[in-house]
Symmetry: C2
Subunit: 437 residues, 2 copies
């Protein structure tokens, strides 16, 4: 069969990695696919382009529209990133009848509905395996591997920078600001770290996972997002002492009342496999009714790990390039007419457990008073730890783990506790998940 012509937009980290993998592993890929993938037209501002691709066999341009408008290109691979230009290019490629592969989580999470609508009308596919958890084939696992299941919840470490920072804080007792500065120097974190450490990047990915899990529309704007910048080494240590680790998780869960969709620091039992995923690595834990828990682990970013997912999408696209739509996996895992409008729960209505830390006067009766305040707000306490804070005089750290409760109830209880004369300052609150089946 003829080679399939691929057009590549962007030769940055992921674009360069994709070109490298396509060229280096061309023979292996063809042995699997039975068809040649030709890197036919590449758009990159990068003057180093010619060191990656061969200008004898690949057309080069600095104008990405040359590629999406090239009648000989069959698959457009968008690796520019960002919202505006990327969206315009992807929609133009679809309009021109080309299949699309993208690693752009922000684009899919925010403009996915419009893009998928256009693709469905044109009968072309849009693949985005690389948009979530980099090289881990989690989209394929959820859309296909677990297709026999009702998925109950998903919890993922889906931002490598955040996980690197939390791992360093735990292993070396360092504080957030210091590790972040180092991560920036090492190139792990962007100059503006908000995307990573405030959870926006994770929320983009979680939005996509929730759609695949539950057949709901992509709803980035309804995702609750809380970052890790307020986590202190003290809380990391207390968590450890209680048998937990703090991870920045994206969690989506189907409940009777609606779907939870939330990114926040979370205490999880240290014996869970996902609690032992350290450094820049990613992992996604999926709980489903037939298979139970399954976990998928690997590199969530980087040139070649991301390229691995991009090229897998190209291979899938080539395999069914001339096939009717019913031979292909639906874009979001569910048939368009079977998508559901299950509501997303406001964070106030989420039910989970909590780690609470407060500074209290060190005198008899304080624990009783605090406990009583929680009890009268319907919060049951499961464990208590009392510690002398470094440098604290006449005061103690009181750490409490609650049983499951409604978030609005715990917030009320915290307000009441903060008004006690024996409690100083604000209560630190970190959510806690057991992640059991």
């Amino acid at each position: 069969m003829d080679a399939v012509n691929v057009g590549l937009l962007g030769l940055g980290t992921v674009g360069g990695g994709t070109a490298t993998v396509l060229l280096r592993n061309a023979a292996e890929i063809q042995a699997r696919l039975g068809r040649e993938i030709h890197l036919y037209h590449v758009a990159g501002l990068n003057i180093a382009a010619q060191t990656i691709v061969d200008p004898q066999t690949t057309k080069l341009t600095e104008n990405a529209f040359d590629v999406v408008n090239d009648p000989d290109v069959q698959i457009v691979v968008e690796l520019i990133g960002g919202y505006t230009l990327a969206k315009e290019l992807v929609l133009k490629a679809i309009e021109n009848g080309k299949h699309v592969v993208t690693a752009n989580k922000a684009l899919i999470a925010t403009h996915g509905p419009e893009i998928m609508q256009a693709a469905t009308e044109q009968g072309v596919s849009v693949c985005y395996e690389a948009a979530v958890a980099g090289g881990i084939p989690i989209i394929k696992a959820m859309r296909e591997g677990l297709a026999a299941n009702k998925i109950q919840w998903v919890a993922g470490i889906i931002n490598g920078t955040g996980n690197y920072i939390l791992t360093e804080m735990r292993d070396k007792g360092r504080d957030f600001t210091e590790v972040l500065a180092e991560a920036q120097a090492l190139g792990y974190a962007e100059a503006d770290p908000a995307f990573d450490v405030e959870g926006i990047d994770a929320a983009h990915k979680l939005t996509i996972l929730a759609s695949l899990a539950f057949g709901i529309a992509l709803q980035f704007d309804k995702t609750y997002t809380e970052g890790i910048s307020k986590i202190t080494p003290e809380d990391v240590n207390y968590a450890e002492e209680l048998g937990y680790r703090i991870k920045h998780l994206g969690i989506t869960r189907k409940t009777d009342k609606g779907i939870e969709l939330r990114v926040h620091p979370t205490l999880i039992p240290e014996k869970r496999l996902i609690a032992n995923v350290d450094g820049v690595m990613n992992a996604v834990l999926v709980q489903a009714d037939a298979v139970g828990p399954t976990l998928y682990y690997g590199a969530g970013a980087g040139a070649e790990p991301t390229a691995s997912a991009v090229v897998a999408d190209i291979i899938d696209t080539v395999r069914t390039i001339d096939a009717p739509l019913q031979h292909k996996v639906p874009l979001l895992g569910f048939q368009h007419d079977a998508m559901r409008d299950t509501p997303v729960l406001p964070i106030d209505e989420v039910v989970t457990s909590y780690y609470l830390r407060m500074q209290a006067v060190d005198k008899p009766g304080v624990l009783a008073e605090v406990s009583e305040t929680f009890a009268s707000n319907n919060i049951s306490i499961e464990a208590v730890l009392q510690k002398e804070p470094t440098g604290g005089e006449n005061s103690v750290h009181l750490i409490m783990l609650t049983q499951k409760c409604i978030e609005s109830n715990v917030n009320q209880a915290i307000t009441a506790v903060e008004q006690l004369a024996s409690v100083q300052g604000k209560v630190v609150r970190i959510r806690l998940e057991h992640l059991g089946s």
Copy 2:
């Protein structure tokens, strides 16, 4: 579109689970697939069949040939197990132009070539996701998710019974025989436990993984197999003291000289994620050139976890049921004409590290003598631990970890060491893998 008619052979644990999942999750599956899967004809000796399926909508028989010869059945699902009858039924189904789904690792590992040849000639598909690691979608990950990569090696905990026994031995200091008896009582292990604890079951699965990884033929007869029955609580403890855990791994690795294909107890560093996979759970770690390491974790057995994989295969089969072969993933991940005849390395030529334990006379100079004997056989020692064995008098346990060496060399060295007057009895030898990238 019309419903697709599925014929099910076997209503035992996995067959019952498959019927249950297909019926319970029918709406979810149809929402994903866009087409109804009709459990049309079921063969089971189980008189409980009628409690699982509805005789109003499903034909029941005690003769499996009724199903494979039913002209209205489009997909035959073989869940009988074993070699002889299962093979006959699968070949008959293929001859009748039906697609096949099976969970039968023994059948695929030993008769796979003949079955796949027949399927290729008939233009039907044979899916076997459930044959390796139960509910974990590892076949899909390797054939499709990692298709952009050259795979370098695969290491898997692919027998839950063995992993349960080793976990109990470590956690509770119990010995092999005691835990095995308990596992049998709990129904985890068969009355004849050889399949599980001697590694035959794992070797079946590893045979399949090696084919998918490297594009080689299924060669169960060339797989080196060593069980866990000789592992003692002492070795488990010494390994722990040195920072390692003992797992029963299936390992396949591509080297310049050929492909390693081996199942044996293995020391692995405790900080590796796969070292923390405990109890009956399975995990497969894949090292590939672009993505690096990825790991897949979940239940490797059980009614519904296995059913999850079986039904995923049915869904995949239905999706491309009328499609030409080039729209489908090749049976073993590589195009038939691109399969390779890379040789499988004999175990003597494998290069790995070793944990060696010997009992030696407790007197000065013994360590030097033993070390010298290893050195003169070109074995470099990386770590040494000397312990007093319980009940030992005038003797010590000498534990050594070697650097990487050729297995035939280490065997020679062991023979030489066993001839030393100061060394008593046999040297215990367990292979050691760092599983780093």
